[in-house]
Symmetry: C2
Subunit: 429 residues, 2 copies
């Protein structure tokens, strides 16, 4: 059964932050590899876009800009894809799997959109294709879902899985600063990219939630099925009110298995101060899971960065090496053996925080309350404060309501002259 | 490669809380097993001490009080040992492994004291012997240490791994009640056993820390090497002072890999209010880990109970089933490939919280400070309060100090007439 290779060769695709981290980590762990995998581990090739660029830390001799050189090298056992993006990464992975190589990847874009292609190919050819680093950096989440928690019916996942937005919201909460200022600070510190769209609009978190949902619920969920709403509309006032009510605002990826289908969405949410996710600040990530046997589990750690992400990739590489040695690659498939429908956002149910700027005259509160009531929205808490001479600020927290009903009520408010502005709409845990 | 069994048979040893939970969980998960493991899963036998006792929930036909019936049944693929205690569990496990069966166990006593025997046998015979449920119930910790975190040099583990003591300390902290009263309440609610020694003296936590250390540091650590100190001396005053200083008192299992060896101990500790472990209350467990690549990771969840523990056992059973199907049992060995010495408590270094009742007269503080200084103990913070007409309460927090030096200073205090009582000695994070 035991292959007993003396050396296992890998190729790394991409020499960026994570690629560099993995390269260094392999160098550092080299002396222990024979004990861990019964073989030495060698980085035989690193694929880069340009050979002209200086790559400090890399051995020049392993660099190549020619994918065919890797693909056609029968001595390369494992391809570690860290280029990101859909193409050419997707093509390379499929070609590598077909050529008999095992694959480790951290590519959430690819997995959340083209999972059927890459995972299907891995399954068809009996290869390993594993991707712990695609979600929540160093935090073990994909493997626990597949193994330690496999005896559960998982019904809920809530995750802070985007460090950039968590940094911005944490800063806003700590200092009272507005969104634009906090974003500028995050950009300056390198926490936000020059084009922060994928982070602040919730797309990055949405991809990670799609991947976790597929594995947890055993039913394929892809990124286009995830409802996403970012943090760009969150104001200092929203955060102040949330605090006053005992809540913290976080950008959460939420996936729930209900009797009527899967709910899967990313949006800002008010969560109670004492919830295990409320204390997760700055660039940390955390995932909260609920299963029928295990009850609640929270996993917390670094969601990004050179070495934390490399740590997850390295765990996958070691796992694949062990599988190669024992001849059991392809042992864990994607396991989407169910076919559960994904609900539209309108079919989901949520509690809402609603902040309205209204005309300050008698009867307005009654009007607003009537609109909510007519649309089946029940009020849990309401606070009214004077805003200026002619207007008042009305803050409502609702009971759980069908999203469609709530959005109908908002449409009515939009057409009412007494409602000057719908200033804030945020879901509540 | 693929064994392709149509059915996998297991025997459960023990029909107590966890055994019952596993039995029910297997019934519940039955419809999904073909998708998960490519086979059905059958509980063929359950070993009980007495067949006379009523076992609601169990099929009478599977119950047996005869171990040989299980051992000699070639159709039983997996033995799930949930009896607890060293014997006869140890003998049964060794016999099962030799007879070609794979073993899942939750037996921390056995693993922390006779690991060399049972794990050695598994390795010699190439069997699976896995035990996620032995530490921290439903929380995935053993498997992540072996797989997801395998690319790290783990240097620190700090865990709240005993629910009973965490419940008692949480109650004391919330209500201001004393230790005896909180223990009585825990006993009444079923959180503490009739003889709570193993919990309140830190033995249970010590066993779990020994197991985690062996796997994290790749060097065998057994329970007798763990320094243990329980919570029986913690008073309401200690907790009040800790709060005043911004700390919470928790019973922690601590294991550190230092340049001079492994530190491994269980004792109460003052941890800062904002540390991820401080918020872990009641019967919850949590483990904080630090590795050179992953940085800090905290895993939190239910550490005990019928279904949370069964969840961990079930994850192990599913893992073993997959290994059986792929012919790769014994794939992950205990991996104690290093031989690192364990330091005595005197060689360890700690910060201390020290509460003394002293005579209230001039020069006493100077005396006390001199004794600390002479023994190399540097003071970080000191508070003196009047206690009664003739005595004062002196509370000191020290800088990190060699435990031997600190204990020498305590010996001096013991012989000083101005020191009426050493009222509290607790380590500080």
């Amino acid at each position: 059964m035991y292959n007993n290779k003396e050396n296992i060769n890998i190729a790394i695709l991409g020499a960026g932050t994570v690629g560099g981290g993995v390269y260094k980590l392999i160098e550092r762990m080299q002396p222990e590899m024979p004990d861990k995998i019964g073989a030495s581990l060698t980085v035989k090739k690193v694929l880069v876009r340009s050979l002209a660029k200086e790559r400090p830390g890399f051995d020049r001799n392993v660099l190549t800009d020619n994918w065919q050189e890797i693909l056609n090298d029968p001595d390369i056992d494992i391809v570690v894809e860290l280029m990101g993006g859909i193409e050419p990464a997707g093509t390379y992975i499929v070609e590598a799997l077909k050529a008999g190589k095992q694959v480790v990847t951290a590519n959430k874009d690819l997995l959340a959109e083209c999972d059927a292609l890459v995972l299907g190919t891995a399954e068809e050819y009996g290869r390993d294709l594993i991707f712990e680093a695609a979600v929540a950096g160093a935090i073990p989440i994909i493997r626990p879902l597949r193994q330690s928690m496999a005896g559960n019916n998982i019904t809920e996942i809530m995750g802070i899985v985007n460090g950039t937005t968590n940094y911005i919201l944490s800063k806003m909460s700590e200092t009272g600063m507005g969104y634009e200022e906090a974003l500028a600070q995050a950009t300056e510190l390198g926490y936000a990219e020059a084009d922060p769209t994928a982070d602040v609009e919730g797309y990055d978190a949405g991809r990670k939630v799609a991947i976790m949902s597929s594995i947890a619920f055993h039913s394929r969920v892809t990124f286009p099925q995830v409802y996403t709403e970012g943090i760009t509309k969150i104001t200092a006032e929203d955060i102040r009110y949330a605090k006053e009510f005992g809540y913290v605002i976080k950008l959460l990826g939420v996936a729930r298995l209900t009797d009527t289908g899967i709910e899967v969405k990313v949006h800002p949410m008010l969560i109670p101060k004492n919830h295990s996710l409320a204390a997760v600040s700055d660039a940390f990530n955390a995932v909260f899971l609920h299963g029928d046997a295990m009850d609640d589990i929270t996993l917390m750690g670094r969601g990004a960065g050179e070495f934390p992400t490399a740590s997850a990739v390295m765990g996958d590489i070691i796992d694949v090496c062990r599988n190669i040695q024992w001849g059991c690659c392809g042992r864990l498939s994607h396991e989407c053996y169910k076919d559960i429908s994904v609900k539209s956002i309108g079919e989901c149910s949520s509690k809402f925080f609603l902040r309205l700027i209204v005309e300050d005259r008698p009867g307005v509160l009654a009007n607003i309350a009537a609109v909510l009531g007519n649309n089946g929205v029940s009020i849990k808490k309401v606070v009214q404060n004077p805003k200026d001479d002619t207007s008042a600020e009305l803050v409502v927290i609702t009971d759980p309501v069908c999203e469609k009903n709530f959005s109908d009520a908002l449409s009515v408010f939009n057409g009412m002259s007494v409602v000057k502005k719908i200033a804030g709409v945020i879901r509540v845990y």
